[in-house]
């Protein structure tokens, strides 16, 4: 018994640890969301919340229902696999109400440079230019048709 008496302070210290651990569990119970870990290392309810956000992108199939003329130009060119909203932005609102939501045409002097500005990291075969030297600030569509960018005789069609 005297061992317990002489080691009493150690039990007090251990008790402090146990108390701190219990306090930790109580706080954890309050602050960790109930659905945390339901599917993985994140809050399960987040999936439902993200799913409830309104849809922003219409998808290229929706665009192609009305814009068949653009589809015809695009499918024969190098941009055949670039989806419409990659350049024009999310347009589900336009697809829902084409009359009142009219999208603004992108500025090709800025837009094209995002992918086609020369960089050593890009594959050699990828068309890339130094925009200032190449067009001197002119919009790319002066010479190229953005939907089928290969140069045609006489400039953009």
């Amino acid at each position: 018994m005297s061992v317990f008496k002489d080691a009493g302070h150690l039990f007090r210290f251990a008790g402090l640890f146990v108390l701190a651990f219990l306090l930790f569990l109580v706080i954890r119970g309050f602050v960790v969301p109930k659905t945390f870990g339901q599917y993985g290392h994140y809050r399960g309810a987040a999936i439902g919340e993200v799913g409830a956000h309104p849809i922003k992108f219409a998808g290229h199939q929706t665009c192609e229902i009305c814009h068949t003329d653009v589809l015809d130009v695009k499918k024969s060119g190098k941009h055949a696999h670039v989806n419409c909203e990659a350049c024009h932005g999310a347009l589900a609102s336009h697809a829902d109400d084409p009359a009142s939501v009219t999208p603004v045409k992108p500025d090709t002097a800025v837009l094209c440079a995002r992918c086609h500005t020369a960089s050593a990291a890009k594959p050699k075969g990828f068309p890339q230019v130094v925009p200032a030297d190449h067009s001197n600030g002119l919009p790319c569509q002066t010479c190229h048709n953005p939907h089928s960018p290969a140069m045609a005789a006489g400039g953009a069609k």
């Binding site: 080691a7 302070h9 930790f24 960790v32």
Partner: protein, 392 residues
């Protein structure tokens, strides 16, 4: 682009890890090293270093309290930091830091200091007055049993805790090296030697820091420095420094001989931007110079005063060298492109959240913590004082 040479990927241009991330491994290294020095006396029975035992423990605690602050300041959102305890991600070494830290703080350092000081704490709780009396009363945890048997139990438990503390100190700092060493995309960091180099450099910096603190504080208090103690510390510092330097050179020679695809880029970096911090400050000034000084103290019979001065210079230079090593690892590893085609520069800001002033403040803060701890728990035992006065 300003500060960029050749080709850098866009996310490499501005450094993500600043001087605060340099400070973090430096501070945890001091903690681990100081604790290892304390363990020399406790576990390995090196009686000569006894005068530094308590000071080493308090130094380790003061720096450990400061250790997470550079990380919190770097990351921002301090209120999110408890989340790593609430929802730990067991597969991430970085995420498990919280538990390693807490284990080392509470189960090793605080417990060992408490057990070692319990006799005095009980005495002070009865002799002190005012708020200090209350603080000591709380620290006794309501137990005033300082019977011989009780103190013998403390001694035994303290020994076991120090024994557990040695691998814990290795784990605390080894994991910092492991985080860098396991980043396979970065050839400057990716090396299985990294945790071992970090542990030995930690021991060098911690031992040097405690030696300097002991010499400085003893001088300030007007007592005589126990030369046998500093001679022994310097001897251990010398041997551990040799191991540390050998490991670093092994890593360097291996890189040069292997000369993989990253070599030309890293070699260029070491000869240009990193020439001053790596070759001059880390290797020449911070490693070779203190090693030569310590070597001389080991082989040449020098007068006491000369030895003390040489230890002070060697210790200070060792700290500079280890800080430079952390700088070269953390900052150096971010200066080159992973394409090996370009380099960026790091310009330290002055008065920002991650600037020079914040780094200086976080370096001074543990010394303030230490000052408070030394006031609260004086590490000078009556026996030490008696011996020191007698030596005078």
């Amino acid at each position: 682009m300003n500060g960029v040479e050749g080709f850098m990927y866009p996310n490499e241009i501005a450094l993500q890890w600043s001087v605060l991330i340099v400070l973090y491994p430096f501070i945890t290294g001091l903690v681990a090293g100081a604790f290892i020095l304390a363990s020399l006396e406790r576990v390995f029975q090196v009686d000569a270093v006894k005068p530094t035992y308590r000071l080493a423990l308090l130094t380790a605690l003061a720096f450990l309290l400061d250790a997470p602050l550079p990380l919190v300041l770097h990351l921002g959102h301090p209120f999110r930091s408890p989340e790593m305890y609430f929802t730990p991600h067991s597969t991430s070494a970085m995420a498990m830091f919280g538990y390693v830290y807490l284990w080392y703080l509470m189960a090793v350092l605080v417990l060992e200091i408490w057990l070692d000081y319990r006799r005095e704490i009980v005495r002070w709780s009865q002799q002190s007055k005012g708020i200090l009396r209350l603080v000591y009363k709380v620290m006794t945890l309501g137990s005033c049993n300082i019977s011989e048997r009780s103190l013998a139990i403390d001694e035994r438990v303290g020994w076991i805790i120090t024994l557990i503390g040695i691998p814990s100190a290795f784990m605390l700092h080894g994991y910092v090296g492991f985080i860098f060493g396991s980043i396979k995309a970065n050839p400057w960091w990716s090396s299985p030697l990294m945790p071992v180099v970090f542990i030995f450099s930690a021991m060098v910096s911690g031992i040097a820091a405690v030696m300097l603190l002991y010499m400085g504080l003893t001088k300030l208090r007007g007592y005589k420095i126990d030369i046998r103690c500093v001679d022994t510390i310097a001897m251990y510092l010398f041997y551990i420094f040799i191991i540390d330097f050998s490991l670093e050179m092994l890593d360097l020679i291996h890189r040069i001989y292997e000369a993989d695809e990253s070599f030309r880029s890293l070699n260029f970096l070491v000869h240009t931007q990193l020439y001053i911090p790596h070759i001059l400050i880390q290797i020449c000034l911070g490693t070779l110079t203190p090693l030569i000084l310590l070597f001389l103290t080991q082989v040449v019979k020098l007068p006491e005063i000369v030895r003390k001065r040489m230890y002070a210079i060697a210790g200070s230079l060792a700290l500079v060298g280890i800080f430079a090593m952390r700088w070269n690892v953390v900052i150096g590893g971010q200066l080159f492109s992973k394409s090996f085609l370009g380099f960026t520069t790091y310009k330290m800001t002055l008065v920002t959240r991650e600037g020079l002033l914040a780094a200086i403040a976080l370096t001074i803060l543990p010394l303030i913590f230490l000052w408070i701890l030394v006031k609260l728990l004086p590490p000078w035992t009556e026996k030490n004082e008696h011996e020191a006065i007698a030596a005078d």
